[in-house]
Assembly symmetry: C2
Homo-oligomer: 311 residues x 2
């Protein structure tokens, strides 16, 4: 059994941390908003796979109190990425590894500057999770996580997958973390973006509006093209099959119902939205590579202005 | 002196009608919201060229009471285009001509179905006008009107220009109405569109935000390309100089200050916005002509969803 420190314990951190605790790992949660509620009543997961509660999870208000861990599960918003190193550092021992279950591009590279590239993994979660009342996470749909290693080292990847043995999470290996990141963006860009830019609507409103659905598909193709240019520029041979990814993303989203992505909830509740990692960084790479991404550019410009957290 | 019936007496109809009355024409205004206020206190124009009031303008609540006119000045929103024929018809005599000072594409063609193409003119107003208190129009900046004839008949165009002799309005001849329409869209698409889609901001916010300014320029180039394809497809030899138009539009808008286009005001006040004529019709023509307009497509899809008047 491993010791796991959960940093950035929002819906994603709490849910996946709770699944690891359920599997028997020693999981410690760094909490702010939910500390009192979890201290009083435990951490509750309302899941379409069955509800459960961690009655007395190990929790802390301060990263220093988490102690050294075998794994740090980082579920921060990308808007807090600059704060990640300071939160993770107290948990680091010589063998500690860091798994970032976050959205966007450049996440692992930023963490690697703080902790070293060989320790860093990315988790691409395809899941519908929202925070409920304090101390409660709602797991609405899906839940699978594709895990990659920043160096794409197969032995390291095996270590990461082994952590999840016995946990009720469907994990898979992403042999190319960079490709997996871009493929995940094929969902996040249209759905996190258009739900906000269309005035605050859910995913169902996007997939059932013919013009917005077409726009979502066109954005996916732009992202896939930029991703393939990025892979090529880094000498990688693997590619994204844009049409196959789009078909999969629409099939998953059509079955999702009226889901509100985290970016939409942040927007509606007046918090900073993840413009940089999900939108601006892909635009930056596409421009540097000479790939035309007009739709992504427009969406990014609009979201940067709509961002409640803009400077 | 001519008799002029003003139909669609919002800010545009009231302002230009008042200028014609000031020049001595017999101008009659069809009013709804402002009827009582104008009946009580006259029609007031607060203009950066000097304020003035029409003390006792001829006004009516019903189009039938306007009587036959030499000219119908139509200042309806494009969202009311379907109602235009019924409002204009009571004013029509054998020699009546119709000047539509409206935004968008397909305006004159729609009016022509009701009144005949030879009578129809378009006025492209580049002006900052807002409604003030009931009975008051605020003329903030600019004011020039380019006038074209649906058949591009030079003799007819001379008649339309002659109407404005002595009026304090800078009018010019648009020898190609279609080109003038597309050039006007080079302003309306980015500024009416982005001010709404960026969450309800004024034109100054667009031109001073580097990303939104770049987006506005890119939209202008898409509109110009679509316009040139439309002109070519109709066998016209004249073209839009996209770069020159963009430079002119930015120069005018930079000097405009924090202006709120009518579409933005309609959006903020919960009224239907002119998605069809300004956005959807250009998209439709571009697609039919095989011109890629990805930014215009995305903006149109977002605005259609944001439209308070959407079905």
């Amino acid at each position: 059994m491993a010791t796991v420190a959960v940093v950035g314990a929002g819906a994603v951190g709490c849910y996946y941390g709770a699944r690891l605790a359920q599997a028997g790992h020693d999981v410690r949660f760094l909490l702010r908003r939910d500390y009192e509620a979890v201290a009083a009543r435990g951490l509750r997961v309302e899941s379409h796979h069955g509800d459960f509660t961690l009655e007395r999870p190990a929790i802390a208000r301060d990263a220093a109190a988490l102690g050294r861990a075998d794994w740090v599960l980082c579920g921060l918003k990308a808007t807090s990425l600059a704060a990640a190193a300071a939160l993770i550092r107290p948990c680091l021992g010589p063998g500690t590894r860091v798994l970032a279950i976050m959205n966007g591009l450049g996440i692992e590279e930023a963490l690697a500057e703080a902790v070293g590239a060989e320790r860093v993994f990315g988790g691409l979660a395809f899941t519908c999770l929202n925070r409920g009342e304090p101390g409660t996470v709602r797991h609405l749909e899906y839940g699978q996580v594709a895990i990659g290693h920043l160096g794409d080292d197969p032995a390291e990847l095996e270590r990461a997958l082994a952590l999840w043995e016995g946990a009720r999470v469907e994990v898979s290996a992403a042999p190319s973390l960079l490709r997996a990141r871009w493929e995940k963006l094929c969902w996040n860009v249209p759905f996190n973006g258009l739900t906000v830019a269309a005035g605050g609507v859910d995913t169902e409103a996007v997939v059932t509006d013919a013009a917005l659905r077409a726009e979502a598909g066109a954005l996916m193709r732009e992202v896939a093209a930029a991703g393939n240019a990025d892979l090529a520029a880094r000498g990688r041979r693997e590619r994204i099959d844009g049409e196959a990814v789009a078909a999969r993303m629409f099939a998953l989203t059509d079955a999702m119902g009226p889901y509100r992505p985290s970016t939409l909830i942040d927007f509606l509740e007046g918090r900073a939205i993840e413009v940089g990692a999900i939108f601006a960084e892909p635009v930056r790479r596409a421009r540097a590579l000479g790939v035309a991404v007009p739709r992504l550019e427009q969406l990014t410009a609009l979201l940067a202005r709509l961002d409640p957290g803009r400077a």
